[in-house]
């Protein structure tokens, strides 16, 4: 493992974190009455789009898993379409899981769906960028000895952190504090975002501290 690789990872993650911070700072300059809590749905959309673009751009620049094969244009297009389908399916799946977890089924469908989109952006999109629409590779990466590179490791960490964050985000909802952020799905989406950011920060550090063990693992 080379330190340069970790540095690349770190810089990519810092860019991602900055982009998320910008989504809260920049839109008020252009939009009236914008606030993360007040107009949460808009923020959800903005955040999803922003993270998506930043991730794709980073992927194109950094190319974490370069493949030696040259790929034809048609192949690229089918791959892209496949990615879109995967993303959509993951949104639907997340929506279903969230509803099964207790979110309202009919009321606030839009909120739930946008939250599912945000979660997919934090998790599925990352996978799609790193591994492509290759379900087997996903399954491999998310198992104990499946990580083959630091990119895989960072993928594991950020995904887990996002989901755990969303899970913890559900905890304040029943409390009777009557805060604006207790409204569905604000606390969950904020939790997911904080989890994601935490994952982005933790991943390079963790990899740095454990680089010795990783030397042995990634044969």
């Amino acid at each position: 493992m080379k330190d340069t690789e970790i540095k690349r990872l770190l810089s990519a993650h810092i860019v991602s974190v900055l982009s998320i911070i910008l989504t809260t700072i920049v839109p008020p300059l252009f939009l009236e009455n914008f606030s993360v809590l007040g107009t949460h749905l808009i923020w959800l959309c903005i955040c999803s789009i922003c993270v998506t673009t930043v991730n794709i751009i980073l992927y194109i620049i950094l190319k974490p898993n370069p493949s030696s094969k040259r790929i034809s244009f048609a192949h690229k297009v089918t791959k892209f379409l496949k990615c879109c389908v995967f993303f959509f399916i993951s949104c639907i799946l997340f929506h279903g899981i969230i509803v099964l977890y207790g979110a309202p089924l009919i009321e606030s469908v839009l909120e739930t769906f946008l939250f599912a989109v945000l979660l997919s952006t934090f998790t599925t999109l990352h996978c799609l960028c790193m591994l492509g629409p290759n379900f087997q590779a996903w399954i491999r990466v998310f198992s104990k000895n499946g990580a083959m590179s630091i990119w895989d490791n960072s993928l594991q960490i950020t995904t887990m952190c996002s989901i755990v964050g969303a899970w913890f985000g559900a905890f304040p909802i029943p409390l009777d504090w009557d805060r604006p952020w207790q409204i569905w799905p604000i606390s969950c989406s904020l939790g997911a975002t904080f989890g994601y950011v935490a994952g982005l920060i933790i991943a390079p550090l963790w990899i740095y501290w454990n680089r010795k063990q990783l030397t042995y693992k990634s044969r």
Partner: protein
């Protein structure tokens, strides 16, 4: 199995919890102290009279203002009901119905007024009646006694009235009867309990009301109407029935007012309100908001009319009414008079004055009460009391002053009025303050008891946890863990009880119970602590992996993190009122998280197969299809969780919450269509439940038998469902629709539920009585008369027609059994035996489910369906997870399963429409089947309790299923295993699934598992309870304590009690089934004895599968047991029958034949456990037979049989004990002695060889010859196994001699082999008894073994050619493939040692061809290749070997069923063991790595080393035990070699990292200084230790020395790596550190340190040490050179030369340094010396084979300087010149 101790233990644990709960409750839910004081007229409380006001005669305290009063209590009259809003266009059913009140208030504002009447919580009727009559605040605990009315002891209004001679007439609710027994002048009570009954009470009252009013024989008339309340309970307020009821009340009021006299006061009050669902009991706004209407035909009120109705507390009614009626206010009243009613006529001032006098009386009464109360109890805060006192006395003084003024006759002025008004305000303020103080503090706690209760519960939790861990251990002793604690507890209880009795105090059961609980707990912990296992001292663990122990322990806890974390979160949630309120959603959330995490963890560990990736290691992972099934199950579970949320009940804390529509009974539905639809749905769910259960039972074959329970399931289940459906149909119909059939409906309403109860109880009793649901199919030959006698008319033709078919059938049958004989014996097939435990539990659960379901409202049946579905899915998931865990203990139910089960119970508590609050209790459950009410309180309490805790009951009873289900689900797994097996071995037959019968295999562990499961369940429940208790204790001053925490605690505690009792019942049921199954097995046995001649061991085996259902064969254990048990009986009978002689002999022969035949038949069933068990069983049977035969004195006729049986039994014994038999030889001896006895020769005191000689020479009886020869062969086998070749040879010489003299051994061929070959096997005649292994086979096997054994011995002894020929002979012999491969390998070894590697390779190859699992052939091949120098081939062989080793060993320890005696059993030599010891994968990996490194293939070596390190890191299973033979060196050396390889490859950073690892691991292991005395070689140097036997240094020092060497080497490597990276400074640091480390060693030797020869003898490491020092010095020097610090470099080089004088590398370095520093002369001198030494030095260098460890080689290479031509030349030049110079 130990049944009672387990139950007792669990019951004891429950008792501990109960006592904790009781103690806490006694401290937490305290009642207010009731004072027994009474007010009386003579109390001097009345105010001094003021002008114009004389005390009327007969009045006391105040003049009587109202002679008569009517108090109408309309139960649950909410303010909303009484209010009339004409503006409302479309009133709801309950609105605008009491128009008459509005009319009165509107038309006569001075006569009538409506108030909001604020009830104090708890708003249950009895508490309200108490409050309305005593004027005090009933406390929380009274809520529980709602069912029982207790007479009111406190002073109350009715008591005062009666005492003052007033007549009180009552009609209505019979609760009053219990509260005020014998108080009424006249009374008309009507039953109140049946909330479904809307009319009885009201109609009864109306019947008597008007006549009583008109009669006038009363002073106070109380009428308590219940219709409105019951209507609310039954239909809810928003229902047409309510409109009807309220209209009725309106009419009643209208006509009552007509009947009233002018001086009568009418009070219409609601005792409490109702929620939107019509319930009450809590303290929500709607429940406390009742109405009060006051009316009198004379004007009462002033002209002032309030805009909005005033709000007055309920207790205010008491003082008001008392003073109005002219009786004393009850003593403990804290209410405030309603002042308007005392204003009377006249001006404002006089009104105020009369109000003030009422206030004054009221205030003085309250003050008196507070004073007495504070004397009786200290719970009212003294400070506030003082403050109240001040308020009171100030107001009193002011009043006195004012009165004085008034008496003086001052004219009424506005100023006086203002002062009067202010004074009224002050009195009001005082009274309200006093009430507030009382309300605040009337919950008094006993902190000590609460803390003690908490501690007791916590300790019980700990006990459960500890005991559940201990229970898994097999040495769990009930004596120390149960008996002693119990005795302790009893002793303490007895002592306390006695002490109490002696001191004559009352026996406080709670205290005694908790003391004894605490004592027994202490005793338990004391005993457990004393017996805890001493932790093994982990000495001698390899230093670098010393942390593995801790890591491993952490890993063991890893599985606990998940369930315990989730449980912890749940417990934390108990501390927040919001979370308690939202618990209905929290529990499913956590359960879903737990399930998802479990499945996710499976995936994380790679146990779920990836789609399209079937290449998983076999055995551990799921196939793809099963993974999807698992995910599907998870989805179903989540869906269940989500759907169950549909059935929630609301709490008032959650705004906008709509209670589930499913909660309401069907009868409340308006639309008929919807009603029908829902009804059909409910019935369908009921039918679905019954069908699913029957389907399950049928699937496992538990629905076949004709037992009573199965019959019950077949017939009564549908019947139950039908009855319940009928009951629903009757209840959901509209009440008046069936006008004429009303009576029939009443009967049906009572009859159906009672029938359901009865039938279900019958079923439960049946399940306890006969819980076995096994269907036995006995296909054994039935005995009995061949022809049943013909019953009909004795006509010959008809008789013939009847008889002939019967005879024919008989013949067919007997023919069939004869044909089957040999392989297919008669059988007993038991269907459903594998799920017999779960079947009983499932049946009981279904019964309970149906019972509980009928207690709920109709549409809850859907929730129950979901409950069963979810339970099933949970069990299924659990079974899968357990089967995936594979190696996990099957008897241990993991924590996650228990936690999930408890969570599901909690979740369904909410999902069956309950909430832990009192209004949410489904009271109507008490009337299911008891329409008319109850006479006792027990039955309704049970019914309501069963309704409330339905899910607790079901899940607790079903808890043992968690243990059973993985066994039940075992079948598909074994099928899967079978499929895989079939690929390998085609001949294999289906392995029978044992399922739950595995539990019976080890009854001890079964009972321990049940105990453990119960304790775990109790623990999880107890922890939740503890959290609740804790929350209630800590938050006892919280705003929400009475609303949220206290009810939650009560429900949780009750739920715990119910759950624990049901858990005990469930476990009891399982044990009952176990009892019954045992009894059943025993019952099966007698019928077997009947068939004894056919051989009991051989029958019962095979059975057909009936009707496609799963067949569960009889469990082998049952057979083994029955066999054992029948033995004594059989032997007794044999003795008895001995005189019969020949008959007996025949019977024995048949038994022997039967056993042998059975074995031959069963051995085709393939290897595995079954065969092993069959063998054991046969051996036992043969042993018992032999014992029987030997019980008689030896006789010639029976000897042949006896010897055969002995032979058979010995065969089994030998095969079982792997050929090493000690006692078996004795048995042969014994047999021989008996032979001699029979022939009349004494054979005592002879050795075995002599015995044989004697027997074979003396016994000439023809018929004994064959058995003796057979036995001889067996004796030979035994001797062979014991390596007694000489004895074997002698024996066979004898055996052959007896037949015919053998031509002496052929030249060259081995004598024994020749003898064996020549030995002719006795012929086995048809008549002779059967043997289990023929002598012919035995002979072949003996021959092969003998050849092999001798060959191996030859190999060992170095007698190679003989060995070769013998082995080759063995290879041609008769043996299994495995042995053949071994033989070939041995030949390979042999030829290799003979120096023919190519031939050796040929043989090894052959060995592999024969048996590809013969791995030692591979390793031998690698060795041969190494010898040949073919590195490629060698590496390939090693790689192959590694691959083979890495895949898990497929061969199970199997008994080849065909031959009991096999070659494997007979050949034991150390050579074989060392040759075929299985090498460890990591060793092989190391060999690979090392060979690569030695061969210079650095890149490959690095790969292998990294793999090896990863392997070693992975876990302890890859660590090789350190024994001498292991190829693997110590782990740090592996690391060092890896580092060296990495360095050679150029991966310096990695090398540094690896070295860092060593350095960090050796940190703690290095002593400050290590002083080693090399005195061993010196001799006589240390006189004190002259006697010490072991030369050399002590092992501990040696270990430290090694550590130092490793550490130094690591630094050295780092130094070189840094040097290669160009970081000279870093490198120098490392080298210095290396040297520093080395300096810690002090070698003290008498001999010179430099005498390295001696040192190397004593201490190999020391040499390495020197070398490392040299290398480090050299390295440092060269790095100094790099930096240009030549002088320091020179120093280093000189030093190094001192360390190793004459080392060429050091010399050349020094040379160069000197040259560089221009010290040419010295350089030249050195150069000459170097040249002089060169030749011998070279030789010395080459001489030792491997002088230094491998890891130093790379450094050594680096040190060697390339021969510097220029330097050499210039030196020579210089020498030349200098040679000329001097």
């Amino acid at each position: 199995m130990q049944r009672w101790p387990v139950l007792l233990f669990l019951a004891w644990a429950c008792f501990l919890f109960f006592s904790g709960i009781a103690l806490f409750t006694s401290g937490f839910l305290l009642m207010r102290i009731e004072l027994t004081n009474r007010s009386s007229c003579s109390d001097p409380l009345a105010a001094p009279a003021w002008a114009g006001q004389g005390v009327a005669p007969g009045a006391c305290w105040m003049p009587r203002r109202v002679p008569k009063a009517v108090l109408l209590i309309i139960d649950a009259l909410t303010f909303e009901f009484a209010r009339f809003d004409p503006a409302k266009a479309r009133p709801r059913p309950y609105e605008n119905k009491l128009g008459f009140l509005h009319q009165l208030a509107g038309s006569q504002p001075r006569h009538a007024r409506l108030y909001r009447f604020r009830a104090d919580p708890p708003t249950t009727t009895m508490q309200r009646i108490k409050g309305i009559t005593t004027g005090s605040l009933p406390t929380f605990i009274d809520v529980g006694s709602n069912f029982a009315s207790y007479a009111i002891e406190e002073d109350n209004l009715l008591g005062q009235l009666v005492e003052n001679g007033r007549r009180v007439v009552f009609m209505g609710d019979d609760t009053w009867d219990g509260l005020f027994p014998q108080k009424f002048f006249r009374s008309y009570f009507f039953p109140s309990f049946n909330v479904k009954d809307l009319h009885t009470v009201d109609d009864g009252i109306l019947q008597h009301l008007y006549t009583t009013v008109d009669g006038g024989e009363w002073d106070l008339l109380i009428a308590h109407f219940l219709g409105v309340d019951h209507c609310g309970h039954k239909h809810g307020p928003d229902h047409p029935e309510m409109a009807k009821k309220l209209t009725q009340m309106n009419e009643m009021l209208r006509s009552l007012v007509d009947h009233l006299a002018n001086d009568t006061l009418l009070l219409v009050a609601g005792d409490h309100g109702m929620t939107e669902t019509g319930d009450h009991g809590g303290d929500s706004e709607k429940e406390v908001n009742a109405a009060l209407f006051v009316y009198s035909k004379t004007p009462l009120f002033g002209a002032h009319l309030p805009e909005e109705p005033e709000t007055i507390p309920q207790v205010n009614l008491v003082p008001t009414l008392a003073l109005l009626l002219g009786v004393p206010i009850p003593y403990s009243n804290i209410g405030e008079v309603m002042a308007e009613l005392f204003s009377g006529d006249g001006g404002a001032a006089s009104a105020a004055l009369s109000q003030l006098s009422a206030y004054r009386i009221n205030a003085r009464q309250v003050d008196r009460f507070l004073h007495s109360y504070s004397l009786a109890a200290q719970d009212l805060p003294a400070e506030r009391l003082r403050h109240l006192r001040e308020l009171f006395s100030a107001a009193l003084e002011e009043h006195d002053r004012l009165l004085a003024q008034v008496r003086e006759g001052l004219p009424a002025s506005p100023e006086l009025e203002a002062r009067l008004g202010r004074l009224v305000g002050r009195f009001q303020h005082y009274l309200r303050e006093a009430r507030a103080v009382c309300m605040e503090s009337w919950a008094r706690f006993h902190p000590l008891r609460m803390v003690a209760g908490c501690a007791l519960i916590a300790a019980s939790c700990l006990l459960c946890c500890v005991a559940s861990e201990l229970a898994a251990a097999l040495d769990f002793s009930y004596r120390s863990r149960l008996l002693y604690p119990l005795l302790w507890g009893l002793a303490v209880a007895a002592v306390l009880g006695l002490a109490r009795l002696l001191t004559r105090e009352g026996l406080d059961l709670i205290l005694v119970g908790s003391w004894s609980a605490a004592a027994s707990q202490l005793a338990f912990f004391w005993h457990s602590w004393g017996r805890r296992p001493r932790r093994a001292h982990l000495a001698g663990v390899q230093p670098p992996v010393a942390s593995a122990g801790l890591w491993q322990r952490l890993r063991a806890w890893q599985g606990l993190v998940l369930p315990m974390g989730i449980l912890f979160i749940r417990c934390c949630a108990m501390f927040s009122d919001s979370f308690v309120v939202a618990e209905a959603r929290v529990a499913p959330f956590l359960l879903a998280s737990l399930a998802i995490l479990l499945v996710g963890r499976l995936h994380w560990h790679g146990r779920l197969a990836a789609p399209e990736a079937p290449k998983q290691p076999p055995g551990s992972a799921f196939s793809q299809k099963e993974s999807w099934q698992l995910l599907g199950l998870l989805a179903v579970l989540l869906a269940c969780l989500r759907l169950s949320g549909l059935f929630h009940q609301c709490r008032e804390e959650i705004p906008h919450c709509q209670p589930s529509p499913f909660l309401a009974p069907l009868s409340s539905l308006q639309s008929t269509q919807a009603k029908n639809l829902f009804y059909l749905l409910c019935v369908a769910s009921l039918a679905g439940l019954v069908y699913a259960v029957r389907r399950w039972l049928r699937h496992y074959g538990n629905l076949n038998s004709a037992g009573p329970l199965v019959l019950f399931v077949r017939w009564a289940f549908p019947l139950l469902a039908v009855w319940i459906a009928c009951y629903w149909a009757v209840t959901s119909g509209a009440e008046d629709a069936l006008g004429k059939l009303q009576e029939l409906v009443q009967v049906a309403l009572v009859g159906f539920p009672r029938a359901v109860y009865g039938l279900a109880s019958l079923g439960l009793l049946l399940a306890l009585w006969r819980p076995v649901t096994v269907f036995v199919k006995d296909s054994r030959e039935s005995v009995g008369p061949i022809v049943t006698p013909y019953q009909g008319a004795p006509s010959s033709h008809a008789e013939l027609q009847h008889v002939i078919p019967q005879i024919y059938r008989r013949m067919q049958e007997s023919l069939k059994t004869q044909l089957d004989r040999g392989h297919r014996r008669a059988t007993v097939a038991a269907y459903g035996l594998g799920s017999v435990y779960s079947a009983a539990l499932v049946i009981v659960l279904t019964l309970l489910g149906l019972l509980l379901l009928s207690l709920h409202s109709e549409r809850m049946s859907l929730a129950f369906l979901l409950l069963f579905l979810e339970g099933f899915v949970l069990l299924r998931l659990h079974a899968w997870l357990v089967s995936l865990a594979g190696d996990a203990e099957p008897f241990v139910v993991p924590w996650y399963a228990v936690t999930a089960w408890v969570f599901a119970a909690t979740q369904f508590f909410y999902s069956t429409g309950h909430q832990p609050i009192f209004p949410a209790i489904h009271w109507h459950a008490a009337f299911v089947g008891f329409q008319e009410g109850h006479s006792t309180h027990l039955l309704p309490a049970v019914l309501v309790g069963a309704n409330t805790f339905a899910s607790h009951i079901l899940f607790a009873v079903g808890c043992p299923l968690l243990l059973l289900w993985p066994f039940v689900c075992e079948a598909p797994n074994s099928q899967r295993r079978k499929l895989k097996k079939e690929l390998r071995e085609e001949l294999q037959e289906e392995e029978e699934p044992m399922m739950e019968m595995r539990l019976r295999e080890s009854p001890e562990r079964f009972s321990a598992a049940l105990l453990q499961l119960g304790l775990k369940y109790l623990f999880v429940l107890g922890v939740q309870l503890l959290a609740c208790v804790w929350a209630a204790m800590i938050l006892r001053r919280h705003l929400m304590v009475w609303k949220v925490f206290a009810p939650k605690f009560l429900f949780e505690a009750l739920g715990f009690i119910v759950s624990s009792i049901c858990l005990l019942l469930g476990i009891f049921l399982v044990m009952r089934v176990d009892c019954a199954v045992s009894a059943w097995f025993e019952q099966l046995q007698p019928s077997n004895r009947h068939f004894r001649p056919r051989g009991p061991g051989a029958n019962q085996r095979r059975g057909g599968v009936a009707e496609g259902e799963m067949a569960q064969r009889l469990h082998p254990r049952g057979r083994a047991r029955s066999g054992e048990r029948s033995r004594p009986r059989g032997s007794k009978r044999a003795r008895r029958e001995a005189p019969a002689g020949a008959g007996c002999l025949r019977a024995w022969t048949e038994e022997n034949d039967g056993l042998a035949g059975g074995w031959r038949a069963s051995r085709s069933s393939g290897p595995g456990r079954a065969a092993q068990q069959a063998a054991r069983r046969c051996r036992l049977a043969f042993d018992s037979l032999l014992r029987k035969i030997q019980g008689l004195p030896a006789a010639l006729p029976s000897l042949s049989l006896e010897l055969t049986v002995l032979y058979n039994s010995l065969l089994f014994a030998v095969s079982e004990s792997d050929g090493l038999v000690e006692g078996e030889a004795e048995r042969i001896n014994h047999g021989l002695i008996r032979v001699l006895e029979a022939c009349g020769v004494s054979g005592q005191d002879l050795s075995t060889e002599e015995l044989w000689q004697k027997v074979l020479q003396d016994v000439t009886t023809e018929e004994l010859c064959a058995p003796l020869h057979r036995l001889g062969a067996l004796q030979g086998a035994v001797w062979l196994a014991a390596n007694c070749l000489g004895s074997v040879t002698g024996l066979f010489r004898l055996l052959s001699d007896t037949k015919d003299p053998l031509p002496s051994a052929h030249g060259g061929e081995n004598e024994l082999l020749a003898l064996l070959k020549a030995w002719s096997v006795p012929v086995e005649g048809d008549t002779s008894p059967l043997v289990v292994q023929s002598t012919k086979d035995l002979k072949e096997i003996l021959w092969t073994s003998a050849a092999f054994l001798q060959g191996l011995q030859g190999l060992e002894a170095g007698n190679l050619p003989t060995a070769l020929s013998l082995l080759q002979a063995a290879a041609s012999g008769f043996c299994s493939k495995r042995v053949l491969a071994q033989i070939y390998t041995s030949i390979g070894c042999c030829t290799q040692q003979m120096g023919k590697p190519q031939t050796a390779l040929q043989h090894l190859k052959r060995a592999l061809q024969v048996d590809f699992q013969c791995l030692s052939a591979l390793s031998q091949a690698a060795l041969v290749y190494r010898q040949l120098g073919e590195t490629d081939a060698e590496l390939e062989a090693l790689a192959l070997l590694y691959k083979a080793l890495e895949t898990p060993a497929q061969e199970a320890v199997s008994i080849d069923p065909c031959f009991l005696i096999r070659t494997e059993l007979l050949v034991h030599t150390p050579a074989l063991a060392s040759l075929f010891s299985r090498s460890h994968p990591s060793e092989v990996k190391y060999l690979l790595a090392q060979r690569c490194l030695q061969a210079g293939r650095v890149a490959e070596a690095v790969e292998h080393y990294l793999d090896l390190l990863a392997l070693l890191q992975e876990g302890p299973q890859h660590q090789v035990p350190l024994h001498g033979r292991s190829a693997l060196p110590r782990i740090p050396e592996v690391f060092l070699e890896a580092a060296s390889a990495l360095e050679q490859l150029g991966r310096y950073q990695d090398a540094i990292a690896v070295c860092e690892e060593i350095i960090s691991r050796t940190d703690d292991l290095i002593p400050e200084t290590l002083r080693i005395e090399l005195d061993s070689g010196a001799g006589g140097e240390a006189p004190g230790r002259a006697g010490s036997p072991a030369p050399g240094i002590p092992p501990q020092q040696r270990e430290s020395l090694r550590c130092i060497v490793w550490r130094a080497a690591a630094y050295l490597h780092q130094g070189w790596a840094w040097a290669r990276l160009g970081e000279s400074k870093e490198a120098i640091t490392r080298f210095t550190r290396c040297l520093n480390v080395l300096l810690r060693v002090q070698l003290v030797s008498a001999a010179s340190i430099h005498s390295s020869e001696e040192m190397a003898e004593a201490l190999a490491e020391a040499k390495v040490l020197q070398k490392i020092r040299l290398l480090a010095l050299l390295g440092r020097g060269s790095q100094f050179q790099e930096l240009g610090r030549d002088k320091e470099a020179l120093m280093n080089f000189q030093h190094s030369l001192q360390v190793c004088p004459g080392d060429p590398a050091a010399t050349s370095h020094l040379l160069r340094a000197l040259w560089k520093l221009n010290r040419r002369q010295e350089a030249a001198a050195l150069w000459q010396k170097l040249h002089a030494d060169a030749a011998p030095a070279d030789g010395q260098q080459e001489a030792p084979g491997r002088p230094y460890p491998l890891y130093l080689v790379s450094c050594l290479k680096q040190v060697n300087l390339p021969h510097d031509e220029s330097l050499a030349r210039s030196l020579q030049d210089y020498l030349r010149t200098s040679g000329q110079d001097p």
